[in-house]
């Protein structure tokens, strides 16, 4: 008989035990998570945005502006008697970090995500947090990527911005009408952002004589801006479109000025915040005459009741100068408040989604085009007005007053909108 000693073959699993241990998550599997994040007195919301790092310039004002508007709502009684708490997470504009931070928001029991920023970040969060299966709403994402409005792919996600595709269809009409025969070129972020734009210009019938893709973040590399401008100049481009984030717009405008290149510049709506451009070294002289688009009123339009209200709120609850990022944040928060109100006192995630789908078209907001939500589409606003920066950096409507163009997500024509924005509800609070 051979006697075996007790096994000495201890695997090293225990020795390899992780040095970093997560606290066990104690949330049991539930048949329904429809009311997570809602109590009789509180609605807990979460947002993941870059608040630090090179990619945060300007965008780091959006979430605080949302918080300011929610404080204003809370100080005026909340929504159906509930106060709104907004938890802000910093994802640094790094995809994996956005996933981690959004997961942390889920662990903290948020009712919904709102205003999360970035196309890649939102796509990753939707996939890895399985929004489709869990039913977690992700409202009014801070990107114009058209894919997020497709309900079958993103049933709990709602766009807010008009899509990049719509924007470039509208710009196409403007270019054809105002710059006939001119050579048009584009610098674009080589991802879903830029792809949407190219598709829009193609649909709009614009021939781009020079197309210059760049990888996101590469605009900071030495020589990249000069490479862009040299190519545009060499191609004889007279109308230069810069379709990227604001930091890339700044590189293009600064480099063009340095190389004495003076085309008609057109900047994407999300890449044209004046204060951010100035903070990145762009001067008023560089920006004068530059075209862009917007779906919200100009930040300098103090006659607009929404602008006036938002500035008042910002003065009371926020810090720094009012700009388009703050305007975007406030408007996003207002849309959220509308949705929460419309979902009624018996607040559930599924009820919230249904409320936006069925009532979202009539939500009050600062936008000059109405939301287009329906039971089949989660697309946000449907149009833009076009503007030109003055020597003082003010966005001046191309025809002296807001002329809003609208179009669809397909092959439909670009039309002048007949939409008359309703009067702002009392005190700018949801009815």
């Amino acid at each position: 008989m051979m006697r075996l000693t007790r096994s000495k073959n201890a695997l090293t699993l225990t020795a390899l035990a992780a040095t970093v241990a997560l606290a066990a998550t104690m949330v049991p599997a539930q048949a329904s998570t429809d009311k997570v994040g809602v109590t009789s007195k509180l609605i807990k919301l979460g947002v993941s945005q870059p608040t630090t790092g090179p990619a945060s310039a300007g965008y780091n004002k959006v979430a605080p502006a949302m918080a300011s508007y929610f404080k204003y709502v809370n100080d005026n009684g909340g929504i159906n008697g509930r106060k709104i708490e907004l938890i802000i997470k910093n994802d640094g504009y790094v995809v994996q970090r956005a996933v981690n931070e959004s997961a942390a928001l889920v662990d903290e029991g948020v009712f919904a995500l709102v205003g999360s920023l970035g196309t890649a970040n939102n796509a990753a969060v939707a996939e890895f947090l399985d929004l489709k299966s869990t039913g977690l709403p992700s409202l009014f994402v801070n990107t114009g990527f058209s894919g997020f409005s497709v309900k079958k792919d993103y049933p709990t996600m709602f766009s807010l911005f008009p899509s990049y595709y719509m924007e470039t269809k509208i710009l196409s009409e403007y270019i054809k009408k105002n710059f006939p025969g001119k050579k048009v070129g584009i610098i674009y972020q080589a991802d879903d952002f830029g792809s949407d734009a190219l598709a829009g210009f193609a649909q709009g019938g614009i021939t781009l004589v020079e197309k210059i893709p760049y990888a996101s973040l590469s605009q900071a590399n030495p020589g990249v801006g000069a490479g862009w401008i040299t190519k545009l100049k060499t191609a004889g481009v007279e109308v230069a479109i810069m379709y990227g984030v604001t930091s890339a717009s700044a590189v293009a405008l600064r480099t063009a000025a340095a190389l004495a290149y003076k085309p008609q510049w057109i900047l994407s709506a999300v890449g044209a915040d004046y204060t951010t451009l100035i903070s990145q070294g762009v001067t008023n002289a560089m920006i004068e005459g530059v075209m862009t688009a917007s779906f919200l009123p100009a930040t300098t339009d103090d006659a607009d009741p929404y602008i006036k209200l938002f500035k008042t709120i910002h003065t009371k609850y926020g810090v720094g100068a009012f700009d388009s990022n703050i305007l975007t944040g406030m408007n996003t928060a207002m849309m959220t408040a509308n949705a929460l109100k419309a979902a009624g006192p018996n607040l559930t995630r599924s009820g919230l989604i249904k409320a936006i789908e069925t009532k979202g078209k009539s939500f009050a907001s600062a936008a000059l085009t109405p939301p287009t939500y329906s039971t089949t589409s989660h697309a946000g606003y449907g149009g833009f007005w076009l503007a030109q920066f003055s020597a003082a950096g003010v966005m001046v409507p191309e025809s002296g007053k807001y002329k809003v163009y609208t179009t669809d997500a397909g092959t439909g024509a670009v039309k002048v909108s007949t939409y008359k924005r309703p009067a702002m509800p009392a005190k700018g609070l949801p009815k």
């Binding site: 006697r3 007790r6 699993l13 040095t19 790094v94 994996q96 996939e127 893709p213 990888a215």
Partner: protein, 532 residues
């Protein structure tokens, strides 16, 4: 982006270890033998028995004095069927004792609670699911015959051992009362091997044409080819990590000398190409020491942001991918011998279709859509040879056991979300197979997830790779408490008519085994199942 100090060029310590299981034994040919155990006197209150099943596999049984009637039948993971001198691995010197559990600490804990343990070496090394199921069936009979008070059997195992356990559960559900699948390979062995093989093929295609990696020669020449590949892989790993570190410091692509793709793709950073290879193969972008989010320097600094966005996921893919590639070399050699020829086939694989989602979210680190298109165009080019299976190899390989995913017994899975070898897609495959509420109730997945951030840096800003692997990363890198959580849940279910607890016990075991979560998580489907 030029955001790094010169020091980072010196970074050359990414762990490129090849996954190894540190024990194994080659059993002799099957003989007509008595399979009854020979038991010695009690040792510390435990009766220890040994014997061999009729196929020649050695087995061990440990039974505590206060045996409670439940036996844990353990199936160990993959052991190479050949000596691997470059890795210091020898089948001749592997341990003599059949493993009876995942670790000594786990074994002792279970024995102290009155559970008996059993396990065998199996009759052959390498991929042995077919043989191992037969051995386990026989061993269950041996245990029940020798210890008449045996009432319940819990089968469990690691990696390939989990594959064996699931195979046993599907074929002989009434022989067991519960199944524990730890770091499991599940579904189809081809899916596991294909991911690793795709990465290996990518390395050969882009950087190292001398890698064989496929259709190894018969006999000793083939063995020498495999050894040569291991050496080539190690050298390639070192050169690529230096290249990536230099690229991050200078912003200039650094293709290693002799790279076949350098002419076509030379303007694209090597780091982006490596990341693409990892994404197309389904390699996790978080690894033992690279969390995909951290960078050196102050929060929000360009140095931190640059490394987090462009470097960290690439080093993670390298750390994970070279483990997988090592497996691909040795396991493919083994399985080609077993199958009588090459079985891997990527002739019609559409890698572009397999990365639709990943190239969107990693667009920046991949250097943008234009670079991605160039990489995909190159990989699809007729100038880039694909690898083709032999008729016999493919036919024989197809005979390997595949799972149906049907669960008859309560089943608990312990799976790391960032396992580079048996990726989370294995577990997701099993989850997706459960369509009805009744089927879903039989399965509980304990996901082992890493912390949000864990990459450490030296004062000079270099990543630290000498620390233990982070929880939720690595292959079968779990704690004793986490394994015992599986055991606790299964024994409870076995005592409750096969019903897995959904209340207090579940909460308690999660509380006692940090790192585990049952909150919703969706594993990434293995690329093998996409566009093949």
């Amino acid at each position: 982006m030029s955001t790094f100090t010169k020091n980072q060029r010196k970074f050359a310590s990414v762990l490129l270890s090849v996954a190894l299981v540190s024990f194994g034994i080659s059993a002799g040919p099957a003989q007509a033998i008595d399979n009854r155990p020979a038991c010695g006197p009690d040792s510390d209150g435990v009766t220890i028995c040994e014997g061999a099943t009729t196929d020649g596999a050695k087995y061990a049984i440990q039974v505590p004095e206060d045996f409670n009637g439940t036996v844990f039948l353990y199936s160990h993971g993959y052991e190479y069927s050949i000596d691997v001198p470059p890795l210091g691995y020898s089948t001749a010197t592997t341990l003599d004792n059949p493993p009876v559990g995942p670790s000594e600490m786990v074994n002792q804990s279970l024995l102290a609670q009155g559970y008996a343990l059993a396990g065998s070496t199996f009759p052959v090394l390498g991929w042995n699911a077919e043989e191992a199921v037969k051995t386990n069936v026989e061993l269950i009979g041996v245990v029940k015959k020798a210890f008449k008070d045996t009432k319940k059997v819990i089968a469990w195992g690691n990696s390939l051992g989990a594959y064996i356990t699931q195979s046993l559960a599907e074929k002989y559900p009434k022989l067991i009362d519960g199944a524990g699948l730890m770091c499991p390979a599940l579904g189809d062995v081809n899916a596991v091997i294909t991911g690793a093989s795709d990465f290996l093929w990518g390395l050969k295609t882009m950087f190292a044409p001398t890698l064989v990696g496929h259709a190894y020669a018969a006999g000793t020449p083939g063995l020498m080819q495999a050894y040569g590949d291991l050496g080539t892989l190690q050298a390639l790993g070192a050169s690529l990590q230096t290249a990536v570190a230099t690229e991050l410091a200078t912003g200039t692509p650094q293709w290693p000398a002799g790279s076949p793709a350098a002419t076509a793709l030379g303007a694209i950073p090597v780091r982006s190409v490596i990341l693409y290879l990892g994404l197309m193969a389904g390699i996790p972008t978080r690894s033992a020491h690279f969390d995909g989010v951290s960078g050196p320097g102050a929060e929000g600094s360009s140095t931190q942001f640059g490394f987090a966005s462009l470097g960290n996921p690439v080093f993670a893919v390298m750390q994970n991918g070279f483990d997988a590639a090592g497996l691909a070399i040795l396991a493919k050699y083994d399985l080609e011998v077993k199958s009588g020829g090459a079985f891997y086939n990527n002739l019609r694989t559409d890698y572009a279709a397999r990365t639709t989602f990943e190239k969107s979210i990693f667009n920046t680190a991949l250097s943008g859509s234009s670079a991605i298109t160039a990489i995909e165009t190159y990989l699809a080019s007729f100038q880039v040879p694909r690898q083709v299976a032999s008729v016999a190899g493919a036919a024989n390989f197809a005979k390997q056991i595949k799972h149906t995913g049907k669960l008859s017994d309560p089943t608990v899975v312990l799976a790391a979300t960032e396992d580079p070898i048996t990726t989370d897609g294995n577990t997701q495959w099993l989850v997706n197979k459960q369509k009805t509420a009744a089927a879903k109730a039989k399965l509980l997945v304990l996901w082992n997830k890493p912390a949000a951030s864990y990459t450490e840096f030296t004062a000079a800003g270099l990543p630290v790779t000498s620390t233990p692997k982070a929880n939720g990363t690595g292959h079968c890198n779990f704690t004793a408490d986490q394994a015992l959580a599986v055991a606790d849940l299964l024994t409870d279910a076995a005592d409750n008519n096969g019903k897995l607890d959904t209340g207090t016990l579940r909460a308690n075991v999660l509380d006692s085994a940090p790192g585990l979560t049952i909150t919703p998580y969706k594993g990434r489907i293995q690329k093998f199942y996409i566009s093949r």
